[in-house]
């Protein structure tokens, strides 16, 4: 059914279609509307047979989820930014225990300086925590991928993080084609846990494991993610057969077949990139893009195949490993280690800085001329940076970098940048 609705509400309805049995809710911008929506559905009786628990922290949110999932209940929660850091210990624990929890991350920057706007540093900080990480380009994709996530998680006994850009998707009103309950009931069978806490068949879960088995346990977690490389496209296919829409999968490509310049990115910025690609294609440039939909597991073979004929790769990412460069680019470089193709790494959109078509055109001009640096910061104002460095040279007690820069550029509030 077609509806005009906010991304968060669409995700809430999609999650409800999956018939979750326990939902843990803790507010953090920008995912809050999702759990608010679900809370109302449970309270009104629209979503039946579901326990909605208001917890006292993100650490508790996922810990409650660990308990309910271990006791055999289909479990959902959502978080963002500082929240995922606060629950970090439980994030690793949930995957280590093999609990198929589904969690939305409304992607947001991590402080300090505190910043509520979108980038993907938060979910990227947990990229190695043993969860499957699926990134969404649009709210329609977010709806479809959330439902698929439950099936992927439960088939593999691995938790799944569905990552959607904060505000850009969570707060955007778009047309959504919401699946019917009957379709989802056909697509998603009830949850059968691999192991469950049950007095009729007592088991001990989560005991200590020493060096004699730890490597094998970790290796098998990796193997399970490798299995996901096959399962994720298969689940997308099953979904398409029932719901009639292609979404999910490992990657998607756009005008990539003959592209000399191939842009790789993930999340909502793919939409802007596609528009820019269309404009440049009209000028005759052979440019295309690859959207990474599954970042964990990382689809090495698919990336290799998509990049086979490209002359240059531009990895554009909204996250940044300080002291190193982009996480996505590092992964892409590893995938292409046997292919002699330059990989330009572009850090963009940090803390909600808009990624404009104009900036992308300038960027792709430089890329086409192969004049781009290996690690490039899109729209970085180097003059501001130099002035701050100068202040630090002149004064040992120069104060807060963030405050100095804002005073320097005369911005009244960060939101006007």
């Amino acid at each position: 059914m077609l509806k005009q609705m906010e991304g968060s509400m669409a995700v809430a309805e999609a999650v409800a279609l999956a018939r979750p049995e326990v939902i843990c809710a803790y507010p953090i911008t920008p995912q809050t509307h999702i759990v608010e929506g679900l809370g109302e559905m449970v309270k009104s009786g629209q979503l039946e047979n579901c326990e909605y628990i208001n917890v006292e922290s993100e650490f508790a949110a996922l810990s409650v989820g660990i308990g309910s999932s271990a006791a055999g209940a289909r479990t959902y929660t959502a978080t963002a930014s500082q929240g995922i850091l606060f629950m970090a210990e439980a994030v690793y624990n949930a995957s280590g225990l093999g609990l198929p929890i589904v969690m939305t991350v409304g992607n947001r920057a991590i402080g300090a300086p505190i910043n509520i706007w979108n980038d993907q540093s938060d979910s990227m900080s947990m990229r190695d925590a043993g969860w499957i990480q699926l990134f969404c380009e649009t709210n329609q994709e977010a709806v479809d991928v959330h439902i698929q996530a439950f099936k992927i998680a439960e088939k593999l006994s691995v938790p799944v993080m569905v990552c959607m850009d904060g505000f850009i998707l969570t707060h955007a009103y778009e047309r959504i084609d919401m699946p019917e309950q009957a379709q989802i009931d056909q697509f998603l069978p009830p949850f059968t846990p691999r192991q469950v806490l049950d007095p009729a068949n007592p088991v001990s879960m989560g005991a200590m494991v020493g060096p004699e088995a730890f490597t094998e346990v970790r290796y098998l977690a990796h193997r399970r993610q490798m299995d996901a490389l096959e399962l994720i496209p298969q689940v997308a296919k099953e979904y398409a057969e029932i719901v009639g829409r292609d979404s999910g999968g490992l990657i998607s490509t756009y005008k990539a077949d003959d592209a000399e310049t191939l842009v790789i990115s993930l999340g909502s910025v793919i939409g802007t990139i596609k528009d820019v690609i269309d404009q440049r294609r009209e000028e005759g440039e052979k440019i295309g893009c690859v959207a990474i939909r599954s970042f964990r597991p990382f689809p090495i073979a698919e990336i290799r195949k998509a990049c086979a004929n490209a002359k240059r790769i531009v990895v554009l990412e909204k996250c940044f490993a300080v002291g190193m460069g982009g996480m996505v680019a590092s992964n892409v470089r590893m995938a292409l280690s046997t292919q002699p193709v330059p990989v330009y790494n572009v850090i963009a959109g940090l803390g909600g800085r808009p990624i404009t078509q104009k900036s992308l055109h300038n960027l792709f001009n430089e890329a086409a001329a192969d004049t781009l640096e290996g690690l490039h910061f899109l729209d970085l104002n180097k003059e501001i940076v130099e002035r701050e460095l100068e202040r630090e040279r002149l004064d040992e007690c120069s104060g807060s970098v963030a405050e100095n820069i804002l005073r320097d550029i005369g911005a009244v509030a960060a939101s006007k940048v």
């Binding site: 006791a71 225990l97 007592p202 200590m208």
Partner: protein
């Protein structure tokens, strides 16, 4: 004329089991006890926590007809009962993290509710570090929501699993690895620490109690009572630790009794935030006897540390007054 049977040993309220009728005997003395925490685990000699857990869980198993799931915090109890592939738990049991046992239990309880398994009950358990310190946020959240969980804290007054460091349940003056008996104020600071049973009461939860391994009847009764109720319940059990306290393994029960009888470990119950009962002391003992048997307090008996001894006695006296531990005259049975 029938002779009156005296159940109590001289000077104590400890009831000799064999003098009681069958139906009054402890769960622990029954051949039908669940042995949910089975033998063969790796606890130290004289471990109070192993005893406390065994007593409490068996009582809870009896009270729920074995329909019980346990959620364990990281700590001694978790370590000495498990390493895979072995387990001492003859019941469904999960360990997740150090600080989240209460939240995990909330989740397990929610799953039972949503699946219509009203008969399956949930307990969470941990040591004092996992309860009063790192698990405190999750514990308070579970209390606040009045989730249907009995949380049992086995209080041995320090982080024993990591090598005896101070927790917020460590008593004043006690030597731990992080409060060494050196300098002008040897041992743990006076004026610090957290009384979590009182904090639990402040949440207005249905039931809060303190218990101790020396009084098995009392402990089992409190666990049984807690399991007869719904909502958030909290029991903190005093469990001596020979390793951490520097006491003889054979003195664990004796130390538990002495802590209660001097007033340092008041035994009481509270319902809906109000104290409803406390175990009376016939004649409070001075704290010195209790302290002297433990190396963690040895420095208090050196010349110049008299103020610390007086401070400990003052704490005991305060407890005796606050929890009304003195028997009123003519109150004798």
């Amino acid at each position: 004329m029938t002779q009156q049977v005296k159940f109590y040993q001289t000077g104590t309220y400890t009831v000799g089991n064999r003098l009681l009728d069958q139906d009054q005997r402890t769960v622990q003395s029954s051949l039908d006890r669940s042995n949910a925490l089975d033998s063969g685990h790796r606890a130290c000699q004289g471990c109070g926590e192993a005893l406390g857990a065994r007593f409490a869980i068996d009582a809870a198993m009896r009270a729920t007809d074995n329909q019980l799931i346990a959620c364990n915090a990281t700590g001694c109890l978790e370590v000495f009962t498990t390493p895979y592939p072995e387990t001492a738990w003859q019941m469904p049991w999960i360990h997740s993290l150090f600080g989240n046992a209460a939240a995990v239990a909330t989740g397990v309880a929610a799953a039972q509710r949503v699946k219509g398994k009203k008969e399956v009950r949930v307990i969470a358990q941990g040591g004092d570090g996992g309860t009063t310190d790192i698990g405190f946020g999750c514990l308070s959240g579970m209390f606040d929501r009045n989730d249907d969980v009995l949380y049992i804290c086995y209080d041995n007054q320090a982080y024993m699993n990591t090598g005896v460091q101070r927790s917020s349940a460590t008593p004043p003056a006690a030597r731990t690895a992080t409060t060494m008996p050196v300098g002008p104020n040897p041992g743990n600071e006076f004026g610090q620490g957290k009384n979590v049973p009182l904090v639990a009461m402040a949440h207005g939860i249905p039931y809060v109690a303190t218990a101790s391994v020396h009084d098995l009847h009392d402990l089992e009764r409190k666990v049984t009572k807690a399991m007869s109720m719904r909502g958030a319940r909290y029991i903190q059990i005093f469990v001596p630790c020979p390793l951490g306290w520097g006491s003889k393994p054979c003195d664990s029960i004796k130390l538990a009794r002495m802590a209660a009888e001097c007033g340092l470990w008041p035994l009481f119950e509270a319902e809906d935030g109000e104290i409803t009962a406390s175990t009376k002391l016939r004649k409070p003992a001075p704290v010195n006897g209790y302290l002297k048997l433990q190396r963690r307090f040895a420095h208090m008996f050196k010349p110049g540390n008299e103020a610390q001894l007086e401070g400990m006695q003052a704490l005991a006296d305060k407890n005796i007054a606050k929890f009304e531990l003195l028997e009123e005259k003519g109150d004798e049975e």
